[in-house]
Symmetry: C2
Subunit: 192 residues, 2 copies
């Protein structure tokens, strides 16, 4: 039985993106955002959509840069706190005990404790009603050596990222079982 529902922002899964920026005073800040994803392969780009009221929106416009830090599930408390508070009145690095480290490629801080971060330079901004979509070119990745898999890239089974269950559950989830290889498991349907 199908139900028709009003248009709503329900994408499963949605990522947990911890955006790192510097404030006008040089103070590092982090924000938790779920509205974003990869935007292009060449150049490698990622997008994140933010409300204009946020400090991070203002910071990205000024510095033209941000980092996209991927937290592992053990940092669910810190990640959630980053989405519950504003950098305008809270030093989120101090409260969470996380460490800000300057990116060598862009004017934005990296969260040292997280498995890896994308270093992004703003290349486009798209205004869409409540949110501005910031598109950043991924200039580099800073990753913990022990989060890399066999081909020396961040490996989901080591990173153990979390995901957001969206409006239907309002909760964070971990990654479950490996279901099959991409560009492979579908081969069984190939017509001979």
């Amino acid at each position: 039985m199908k139900r028709l529902l009003p248009g709503q922002t329900i994408l499963l899964p949605s990522p947990v993106l911890i955006i790192g920026t510097y404030g006008p005073d040089g103070k590092p800040n982090i924000m938790n955002a779920a509205w974003g994803g990869i935007a292009s392969s060449r150049p490698p780009c990622i997008s994140v959509s933010l409300r204009e009221a946020t400090l991070t929106h203002q910071n990205i416009k000024r510095s033209q840069a941000f980092t996209m830090n991927v937290p592992s599930e053990k940092y669910v408390t810190e990640a959630d706190f980053a989405g519950m508070s504003s950098g305008r009145d809270t030093d989120k690095f101090a409260v969470t005990g996380l460490t800000a480290e300057k990116s060598s490629l862009v004017d934005a801080p990296i969260v040292s404790e997280f498995p890896y971060a994308l270093e992004c330079s703003l290349i486009r901004q798209v205004d869409l009603g409540s949110h501005t979509m910031f598109i950043g070119q991924i200039l580099g990745i800073v990753a913990d050596e022990d989060m890399l898999g066999p081909i020396r890239l961040p490996d989901i089974e080591k990173v153990r990222p979390m995901l957001w269950g969206s409006l239907g559950s309002m909760a964070y989830y971990g990654v479950g079982n490996r279901l099959g290889d991409a560009f492979s498991v579908g081969s069984s349907l190939r017509q001979s």
Copy 2:
């Protein structure tokens, strides 16, 4: 120990998006894409980035519409097949045995067997090198009654969506344990 890697499209997790469109001949098609995410809350918008060479790219430009179908993990084979073949020479609905149902809101097909679909009308197109980002307004959601949770929205624990492990693993994964409530678990760090 931190490693510096070249800029690459590694976002964990990335979603598994099955894009539904009609071809110029009215033939329904599906494609598997991982580059996308929610783009705005009001109006509710979602983005997906596609290479110009794909049939889906051409179909969206003509029909100005698409559906974003979220498969449950039991459809990993069908979803992968949708990413391994082209609608130009393959009737993917016929091969997978999935059923195309016309959206009542937009000129695009819904995959009946999947838990829910977003019905999207194209509102913006952003060209970014290898990929075009299509931004669609989510006009409605078609969902299976038994995929809805307590607040009558698609529930991640019922939908059981899959996610893509990106370049580091090239595999699909299921959803794991519930880690904590959003806007809640972080409260323990609030300063009193």
